[in-house]
């Protein structure tokens, strides 16, 4: 069984936590350590962002981490190496998240085959909607990489069902119309309940993960109360940005992660 499916199988009684980090941020040597530390502190899934120069679905925080990662010289091959390195010590599901252009330039067939060899479990491409995804579906399928599609509050019931049909692993609910980034909790909460209810009615095959705008334990619990789990990215990167490279930056980051999942610090 795919690592992603296994996690949802095993964690039926708790909220699954998926954490997003830009590969190569804050530097290329820390990515593997961060993934392993996230796992020790409660992360169930890791989404590894492949930085792109023009991340048009991302807010200022992930634009920033992407720029830093690119100037740190991170490459697609380098990201595969990070995954392979992580796999020596961990079975945590790893999902790559990135824009389509770098994959096109790398060569789609080669991309999927090398991703699978490195130990990647899934892929999210924010600028590749269902309509265009036929260009990667076959490669994903033949290499056992699960494709995860996004749905938004303005997605029709019909397209939600199609996303469920095409997704494997889970379906990603974008809680608000907008770019990535932490928001005021009440802003997200107001609209999200009806959206999640509608999503649940239409998504019957896959688990539902909610993301965009979650910044702490309380947000996570309330926003995901009707879903199977939650995704945090910008708020995590913000903590890294604010603490790196102070002496105990990683302790602070891992504490934040622990708190996000369990509601109390790890020490």
């Amino acid at each position: 069984m795919n690592r992603i499916n296994k996690v949802f199988e095993q964690k039926k009684d708790e909220k699954v936590m998926s954490l997003f980090i830009t590969a190569g941020y804050p530097n290329v040597n820390e990515t593997v350590n961060l993934i392993l530390g996230f796992e020790r502190n409660g992360a169930d899934i890791v989404e590894l962002g492949m930085p792109f120069s023009d991340p048009l679905a991302d807010g200022p925080i992930i634009q920033y981490s992407s720029n830093v990662a690119i100037s740190n010289g991170v490459t697609i091959q380098g990201i595969f190496d990070m995954v392979a390195e992580t796999r020596k010590n961990s079975e945590i599901p790893i999902i790559l998240m990135g824009y389509i252009n770098p994959m096109v330039r790398y060569g789609l067939e080669k991309f999927f085959s090398n991703a699978a060899k490195a130990g990647v479990d899934g892929l999210i491409v924010p600028d590749l909607p269902l309509d265009e995804a036929t260009m990667i579906e076959e490669f994903a399928h033949s290499n056992g990489i699960q494709l995860i599609y996004l749905i938004a509050p303005n997605t029709s019931d019909e397209r939600m069902q199609l996303s469920d049909d095409k997704s494997n692993g889970f379906v990603y609910c974008v809680s608000v119309t907008g770019v990535t980034g932490a928001r005021d909790g009440s802003e997200v909460q107001q609209s999200v309940d009806t959206f999640i209810q509608r999503s649940k009615a239409n998504i019957t095959k896959n688990p539902l993960m909610v993301g965009f705008g979650i910044k702490n334990y309380n947000d996570a619990q309330s926003i995901s109360k009707e879903a199977d789990g939650f995704i945090v990215g910008s708020a995590l990167i913000e903590i890294i940005r604010d603490t790196y490279p102070t002496e105990n930056w990683k302790d602070e980051v891992f504490n934040f992660v622990h708190q996000l999942k369990f509601g109390y610090p790890n020490q």
Binding site: F52, S53, D54, P55, L56, A57, G59, Q63, I70, T75, I76, Y99, I100, N101, P102, M103, V104, R105, Y106, P126, D127, L128, P129, L130, D131, E132, Y149, L150, I151, A152, N154, T155, S156, R159, S163, V174, T177, G178, V179
Partner: protein, 399 residues
């Protein structure tokens, strides 16, 4: 010269593809908006009332039809084919961009949208959009790279004077590419009430098709006017290409005709210099701003910074239809340098009393290469897409 098109050209297909190029590469949040736009545009383009209002505004507000001027001294200078200029520089606001801004704002109003956003490089599309918004009393936000705001200060002042809010973009290269990213982010966030007026034949379907169709009046008029004057089609058609809207506008009605069509890109400091905006000459296929086309990007697929003296051509992508016309060899694409474009500005100013925009000057600069191969029996039509007032500060540094 002989370019015979035997099949009737009908692109894009229903998914918005011109051959391998085009499509809808956008976040899911924008898919409902693009689908609504597609339906609304189709209904509008089949509605005689919509066309009537659009043509009425182009006539009595924009000043169409624009003239087709015989450039007698320029013709004499080269001693080859007769050169005619399609005078889009005479449009209200000083460039062709207003044709599309008028078309799209009518569509926005028809769709009940309350807020308009746009991106701009040289500021011509921003000015055209601000103009249309002022004319119809609609809220207008224009995204513009901070570097371009310095290069094109006059246009910033014009937009503000007409009540638009100009938002400076400080990310990335601080130019058109980054302004476009920011406009798309705004649209994703405010998709319910906001209409995004894209300024070129770029972006996700249906924009490349729709923007082309709002500009095809340039080519349609040219055809009629040249028929009246010369009783025949031109031998050559030339236009500058950044995103490629003025070029598609004049090319499109001639695609099935026996006409040699030439697009001129911005070579910057030279196509081999690494400081260029010659996307078709130096780029490779990829996805940027919602469509598959040629792009300037490195081996990792990171978008490279374009360079051109002209802010309107300083863009690492190009419209997908140009990519298709390039691959099928229906249109020849060439590049000229910053220096060649500046030479052309002086030449046209002195010989014809027309100061062209730096963008437009790239098309003129190609005459140096083309004209020696032509004969006095032939006819060249060049799309004089915009006037150069906005560029005076840049131009005067080189005088």
């Amino acid at each position: 010269m002989s370019v015979i098109t035997t099949t009737t050209y009908s692109k894009p297909n229903h998914k918005g593809y011109f051959g391998a190029y085009g499509g809808k590469f956008v976040p899911e949040t924008l898919i409902p908006a693009l689908n609504d736009l597609e339906v609304a545009y189709k209904e509008a383009s089949e509605d005689a009332e919509f066309e009537k209002e659009y043509l009425h505004l182009l006539h009595e507000y924009v000043g169409r039809p624009t003239e087709l001027s015989f450039a007698d001294r320029l013709t004499g200078f080269y001693g080859g084919a007769k050169i005619y200029l399609k005078r889009e520089d005479l449009c209200h606001t000083g460039a062709h961009k207003i044709n599309n801004a008028i078309g799209q704002i009518l569509l926005a109003l028809r769709m009940g949208k309350k807020r308009i956003i746009a991106e701009t490089g040289a500021g011509q599309h921003g000015v055209a959009t601000a103009t249309a918004c002022a004319k119809f009393g609609v809220e207008c936000v224009v995204y513009m790279g901070e570097e371009d705001m310095v290069r094109q200060k006059l246009n910033v002042d014009r937009m503000q004077l007409m009540g638009a809010e100009v938002r400076g973009v400080s990310s990335g290269s601080k130019t058109l590419k980054d302004a476009t990213n920011e406009a798309i982010r705004d649209w994703v966030t405010n998709v319910d009430d906001t209409f995004y007026i894209i300024g070129s034949v770029v972006g996700p379907h249906p924009y490349p098709m729709m923007v082309r169709n709002f500009h095809r009046i340039i080519g349609d008029e040219t055809k009629r006017q040249l028929m009246d004057i010369e009783g025949r089609l031109p031998d050559y058609l030339i236009a500058c290409v950044g995103g490629g809207s003025n070029a598609m506008g004049i090319f499109y009605p001639f695609i099935n005709d026996d006409v040699h069509i030439i697009g001129v890109e911005a070579g910057g400091l030279g196509v081999e210099s690494g400081q260029t905006a010659a996307t078709l000459t130096k780029g490779k296929p990829g996805v940027l701003h919602g469509s598959m086309s040629y792009l300037l990007h490195d081996q990792e697929g990171q978008i490279e910074l374009a360079h051109s003296i002209s802010a309107g051509l300083d863009y690492p992508g190009i419209g997908p239809e140009h990519a298709y016309l390039h691959d099928t060899k229906r249109v020849d694409y060439h590049a000229v340098t910053d220096a060649e474009a500046l030479e052309a500005v002086s030449l046209l100013s002195r010989l014809e009393g027309i100061i062209p925009a730096l963008e437009t000057a790239h098309a003129f600069a190609w005459l140096e290469k083309l004209m020696p191969k032509t004969t006095s029996e032939e006819i060249v039509v060049l799309n004089c897409s915009g006037r150069g007032d906005k560029d005076m500060e840049t131009i005067s540094k080189y005088l």
